[in-house]
Symmetry: C2
Subunit: 265 residues, 2 copies
C-alpha cells in the first residue's frame, strides 16, 4: 500500500520511538530486527522522541528490555534537546524543574545547575510529571513569579496511558501559564526545528540524505517535510490510513510498520 514503490535513498535514518518501535512496554513486531538490518547496511541511526520525562539511559534500558539494542548517544529525547538548548544558549543557568528525574538527569549531564529555591531559577523547565503534587505546581508557580522564563520539553495534550489517553505536558503548562499570566517561550518537541537540527547534527548527514520514520503526521512527517527529509509514515501507532486522505503533502512512503523498511533498501 506504499504510495511510491521506489527504494529509500538515505544514509541517515531518524526513527520515532512511541508507536514506531514500541507501544507501551511492548516492541512493535519486527522493529528490533529492522533496526539490526539497518545497522548491517551501514545506516546512521537517530532515535527521536517527544518524551521529556526520561533520560537517554532510562530509554536505552527500556529498549534493551524489549531486546532492542540502541546506544544512548543515538537517542534524542526532548529532555536531551532541552538540556542542549539551555546549555548552548544559557550556559550555567540555574533551572527549576516541573517534571521527573529523567529530565533532571539530562539537565545535570549538560552542565546546568538546579536552583536551591524556586525564586533563584532563571528558567522553569516543564515536562510530563506523572507523580506531581500541589506542592510541585506551587514551587513552579513561585519560580515564574520570581522571574523564571518558561521552556517546555513538548506541549502534547495527551499520551496513551494504561487506562486510555492521559493528561500530558499541556496540563502542567496550563497550570503555570494560567496562574501566572506568563507564556511558554520555547517548546522543544517535534515538529520543532530544535529536534530536526539536533538529529541532523547527530547524524552528520544532509537533510536530503535522511529519512524520518514515524507514526505521527504532525510530529514526524511534519518535521521531515519542514526540513527537507524523506518521510515514511508507519500505521503501527496513532495514525489510521483514512486520515491520510485529507493530507495534501503526502509522505513518501506509507508502511504498516517499521519492519517494512527492509523491502525498500
Amino acid at each position: 500500500m506504499e504510495k511510491v514503490a521506489r527504494n529509500v535513498q538515505s544514509d541517515g535514518i531518524i526513527i520515532d520511538l512511541d508507536g514506531t518501535v514500541y507501544k507501551g512496554r511492548q516492541e512493535i513486531e519486527g522493529a528490533a530486527a529492522a533496526i539490526d538490518y539497518l545497522r548491517s547496511r551501514g545506516k546512521r541511526l537517530a532515535f527521536l522522541s517527544n518524551r521529556g520525562n526520561i533520560s537517554r539511559t532510562m530509554c536505552c534500558e527500556k529498549l534493551a528490555g524489549m531486546g532492542i539494542r540502541v546506544e544512548a548517544q543515538e537517542v534524542l529525547l526532548t529532555s536531551t534537546v532541552t538540556a542542549m538548548y539551555l546549555s548552548e544558549h544559557h550556559p550555567g543557568c540555574k533551572v527549576w524543574v516541573l517534571g521527573e528525574q529523567g529530565l533532571v538527569d539530562e539537565l545535570l549531564l549538560a552542565g546546568l545547575m538546579l536552583a536551591d529555591e524556586p525564586e533563584q531559577a532563571e528558567w522553569l523547565v516543564i515536562t510530563l510529571h506523572e507523580s506531581l503534587t500541589y506542592r510541585d505546581l506551587n514551587m513552579a508557580f513561585r519560580a515564574v513569579r520570581g522571574g523564571a522564563r518558561i521552556i517546555a520539553t513538548n506541549a502534547d495534550r495527551t499520551f496513551p496511558g494504561d487506562d486510555g489517553d492521559a493528561i500530558d505536558v499541556a496540563g502542567m503548562i496550563g497550570a503555570i501559564t494560567n496562574s501566572t499570566g506568563r507564556e511558554v517561550e520555547i517548546v522543544i518537541g517535534k515538529p520543532s526545528r530544535y529536534m530536526s537540527e539536533a538529529a541532523l547534527r547527530l547524524l552528520d548527514v544532509p537533510a536530503e540524505r535522511c529519512l524520518i520514520v514515524g507514526d505521527s503526521l504532525e510530529s514526524d512527517i511534519g518535521l521531515g517535510k519542514a526540513s527537507g527529509m524523506q518521510t515514511a509514515l508507519v500505521l503501527s501507532g496513532s495514525t489510521k490510513r483514512e486520515q491520510l486522505e485529507a493530507v495534501k503533502d503526502q509522505p513518501d512512503w506509507v508502511w504498516d510498520s517499521l519492519a517494512d523498511i527492509v523491502d525498500y533498501l
Copy 2:
C-alpha cells in the same frame, strides 16, 4: 480617612471574610466585636467568600475558633453558590470534582450526585485543591474528554499561603483547559452576579438597602457597585490606600478595618 462622613443606611450587611474578618488563622482585630454589635442593632448579615474548597460548616468552625459567632446559613462560599447553581439549573446532575472535601460536602447537601466514573459526569466542578496529585488532574481530564462541561467556584490566580502567595484555582483550571482545549463555562466567584444574587436572596433586602464590606476593589467593591449596593472598602487585607487613587468609581466608605463600622451606624 473616610471619603464621606455620613452614616450607613442599610438593613442588610454583606461581609467578606478573608482580609476583612480574618487573615490566615487570625481574627482581624475588632471583627468579632463589630459583628456582635451589628447583630445587636438588628442588621441582617451575610458572609461572602470566594473560598470554594471548604463547606459552610468548616467555615463556621474556623470562625468559632477565633471567637466569631456565625451561623452556617449566614455564610455563602463559592462552594455553596456553585452547588446552588447546579441544583437549580441542572437538578440531579452527576458531577466530578477537582477539589476538596468541603466542595463535595456542599454539592451533596444541595442534592447533587457524584459520578462513579469521570466519563459519566455531566459537569466537572473545579476549585482549589491543595493536596492534588497527577491522578486527580487526569481524572478531571477524563471527565471533560468524556463530555463534562466545566464550572469553577472561582478563578483566582493566587491566595496568601503560609509561605507567601500560592497557586490558586486558576492553576487547576489551566491544567484542564489547556490539555482538553475546552473552556470554563461558568465562574461563580465574586464579583459575579451569582454571588450578589445569592446574597440578596439570603438577606431578603433590596440591593439599595445593602452594604458590602470587603478588602478587594475588584471582588467586593466591584460586586457592590455592579448590583447597586452601598460599598465600604477595608484596608485590613489586600488593598493599600494608594491603589484607591486610580479608581474612578470610589467606594462610599474607606475604613481601616471592619471595627470602624460601629462609628457609622
